[in-house]
Symmetry: C2
């Protein structure tokens, strides 16, 4: 009890969240998904073993580059790797040995304890789109993103029932100087949402700002001893670890904050044109990157990532929701489980310029695959458009609604005397109907997943109401969510301290726009 | 060789198809899918055994109704069932024993032998939408379907690379009298397409017309000794087999033509509101229906069907692409495999009124599930709109394009020294790119599935070309396919005989419109 009370004192949102529960509209957030269904295993053990063997060969013979990073080279040398220039070659088995200290599962704490997530195991945590410089909505079309757009997305995330995580760069606020925007972004996540969030990775100093602001939000002791951020560390595939990303990784790992170590693959460009070859490279990169987190701090939480698209060999454009990306992700999930690491992949990926049928086909292909491939952390789970150049307000709520289907699917099928429903079949008999029978009356409210967005109306009603398509319905839903948005309560002293930190940091630097 | 020659002589399309190959534009059709990936198994053996046990209990204790069908009741009595009024109760194990004579896999022959399909095993055969009274396209909106619409869909099916089957009632030609339209529909499939097709089921006499026309098309001997049609026999769920559908089934089974014995389930209305209860009822219905085909003629080819939607408990509307439908289909696939029967389910299902994002999400959910659930025959694989009330021209080509992703996904992942691509990884090294390397050059043409429809262009090009959404692209593709459509050659004597059969039959009856 003493521990619980102490923990409550040190965290900004706990008491506030409980007060919120007692007042007005309840904003509902589903618990992260705990799968009660198997994973889809596309590769057999022999194929997996061949891929693992070849990945070791890549590390041993070709190696990886740690660019502009003498400290990293020192760490590798000390661990027994061979270092030649910035090339690091790992003796067979070294990476695999080093990653044993990485946890198979970890808790990322939210300031509202009810929103904390367990990353790993059979769980699936859903986070929104990350990175686009543009936004699009039905009224305003496509335009550069601003910090106001950013805040609006954070609010939509807070209001989205099936989204467990507030994410990170939900769009790139291009109206704020490059060297200061991380402060505004963090402030938005910390104050407009009580879901877990991601830290900045664009400079080691910005990662440090993220850590320091978390110490204000969660209390210094809590943030020092717990994981309160999960941040995205991309690998410059093929086989290259740049100093900026590694600098951020070093800050986070040293502070026990989670990193997603994620090859960034456009198949045919950054990796071989074959699924198996891509898996070899992905695994080699992940082994090196995850091992490096453990060199920085053994036990640091880390996720095996795999961002995978293929390339359209006609236009050179990346393509999304394709069968090859699915095959790679299924295989990568199997490799992650054999490494006993949490796995990040899939998302609301699409190449379409509009939130139209193409966008939805491609997105649904990826979301379904993400569920069945055993993904533990799905970044970009909603709102992605145009190959990641655009965050779409309408698609955000469209995808976020579809995430509900993953929750229901993951529950699996309960087979017991109640669900087998012999009494109902007996009661209804040949030629009857089940609408009024006792079993239906007892179960209909929870039996079927129901969209909060899509059109289920009779044709005539739908026509009279304006024959709206999904984007029109989504546009109305965006407005409704924003209109009913409630800011989750936060201790005013903490809020003031965060504001002061941001103001002071901003004042300490000139504006930079590149 | 004598057999082959004889067969060629008796079939309308063989020689003609070969002639077509030698002339002008080649219309490409992919081979039916042969899966090299596992199925997704959502239920464990204990759950499956419980469902099977309860299905037997339903058949034994509650039974099924064969309505207005004294001959069926006689057959059941002779087989050892207990008959009380129109209620047939089957002793435990009887149905399971009877269905042992049903083939696990069968060939449905097309008049062009290259288009024949193998139904069962690890195969997946894709057929278009079936049944809608309305059509929709971008220019004309929603309207009652005509025989000209019907013919246009058959032409689109013929031109669709990833569609293996011409289907049946691709739309309901409401401008032709009810009692004559089956003749025009069959004539269209037989003359405008050389893919396999379905027969009429709306009256036993129309099933007989279908058989008789096939004897003209394929030759009497060939059509008598081979399966040349697969037709859809719906069960009036719950547990009722009406005389019209059974009359058609009796004609087809007696003639060794394939039936899909298919419970028609709107969960919560025609079956229990639970997944497990629905599976119990589906299995009981299929066991009785498939057993009945074997009473009519042991060895008759038959497919276990499961048409499954759930109901929106707010509006009463059926809903599509939902997680419950997926769970039921995954389970039904497992039950079908344990019965050693081909399995029909899934499709381009959606509730949306327009071919928009809702339609695409719901459709993709169902198509992906259909591939992984082991479906062998997928009716409605393209073109379905508005809960099956509408056949959409644009959605037909949109879905048909997506079917390509299933083909590629089903190929699985080849892991060997070539695909592991060590030479490429070595050649490129850290920081390089794979676009020009030898492995990419050797493989890029076949490495990645590519849409024939979706937009992969740069934003600027797409904008300049009119910023078209998927429906606009699809509308253009419909027109292109129709403009380049080539009628597959058919022996003029056979064509004339088919025309004469249709004319004579039409002249023999007054028009009926209900």
């Amino acid at each position: 009890m003493a521990d619980v009370a102490a923990r409550k004192r040190t965290r900004g949102g706990g008491g506030a969240a409980r007060r919120a529960e007692r007042t007005s509209v309840q904003v509902e957030t589903a618990k992260y998904i705990e799968r009660r269904i198997p994973n889809f295993e596309i590769l057999d053990d022999a194929a997996l073993a061949m891929i693992e063997d070849h990945a070791e060969q890549v590390l041993e013979e070709i190696g990886v580059s740690f660019v502009n990073n003498p400290a990293a080279l020192d760490r590798w040398r000390a661990a027994g790797a061979s270092v030649d220039g910035d090339r690091v070659r790992l003796p067979r088995g070294l990476a695999r040995e080093l990653i044993k200290t990485a946890p198979a599962q970890f808790t990322q704490h939210a300031r509202n304890p009810e929103r904390s997530v367990e990353i790993g195991g059979k769980n699936l945590v859903l986070a929104p789109v990350y990175g686009p410089p543009f936004v699009r909505d039905l009224d305003g079309g496509r335009r550069y993103a601003t910090i106001e757009d950013f805040r609006k997305f954070v609010k939509l995330g807070q209001m989205s029932k099936w989204l467990h995580h507030s994410g990170g760069t939900v769009c790139e606020p291009t109206d704020v100087p490059v060297n200061k925007r991380h402060l505004d972004m963090l402030l938005a996540h910390m104050t407009l949402s009580d879901k877990p969030f991601m830290g900045s990775v664009t400079e080691p100093s910005r990662a440090q700002d993220s850590v320091d602001m978390c110490k204000i939000l969660f209390g210094e002791e809590f943030a020092t001893n717990n994981t309160v951020m999960t941040s995205l560390i991309n690998i410059n595939s093929p086989l290259t670890f740049d100093d900026v990303m590694m600098g951020a990784l070093e800050v986070y790992s040293a502070n026990m904050q989670a990193c997603i170590v994620s090859p960034f693959i456009v198949g045919g460009a950054m990796a071989p044109v074959s699924v198996a070859g891509t898996l070899v490279q992905v695994l080699a990169e992940v082994l090196a990157g995850v091992a490096y987190t453990q060199l920085v701090r053994p036990g640091a939480p880390v996720i095996m990532g795999a961002f995978v698209t293929s390339i359209d060999m006609n236009s050179g454009a990346p393509t999304f929701g394709t069968p090859e990306a699915s095959q790679i992700t299924y295989g990568a999930g199997q490799l992650a489980r054999r490494l006993n690491l949490p796995f990040r992949s899939a998302g609301s990926f699409c190449g379409s310029k509009l939130p139209d049928a193409q966008a939805a086909y491609e997105t649904a292909n990826s979301l379904n695959m993400g569920l069945l491939s055993g993904v533990n952390f799905m970044l970009h789970a909603c709102g992605w458009l145009e190959g990641g150049l655009v965050s779409s307000f309408e698609k955000f709520v469209m995808d976020a609604d579809q995430l509900g289907t993953l929750h229901k699917m993951a529950e699996g099928v309960t087979v017991d005397e109640d669900t087998l429903a012999m009494d109902a079949i007996r009661e209804v008999g040949p030629g009857g109907h089940y609408l009024g029978c006792a079993h239906t009356q007892a179960n209909f409210k929870t039996a079927f997943w129901r969209s909060d967005l899509l059109d289920y109306k009779p044709y005539e009603t739908w026509s009279e109401e304006g024959a709206r398509d999904t984007v029109a319905l989504a546009s109305a839903r965006v407005q409704k969510l924003i209109d009913t948005y409630q800011q989750p309560p936060l201790d005013p002293a903490i809020h003031a301290a965060l504001n002061a930190y941001v103001a002071e940091k901003k004042a300490s630097m000139p504006d930079a726009f590149a």
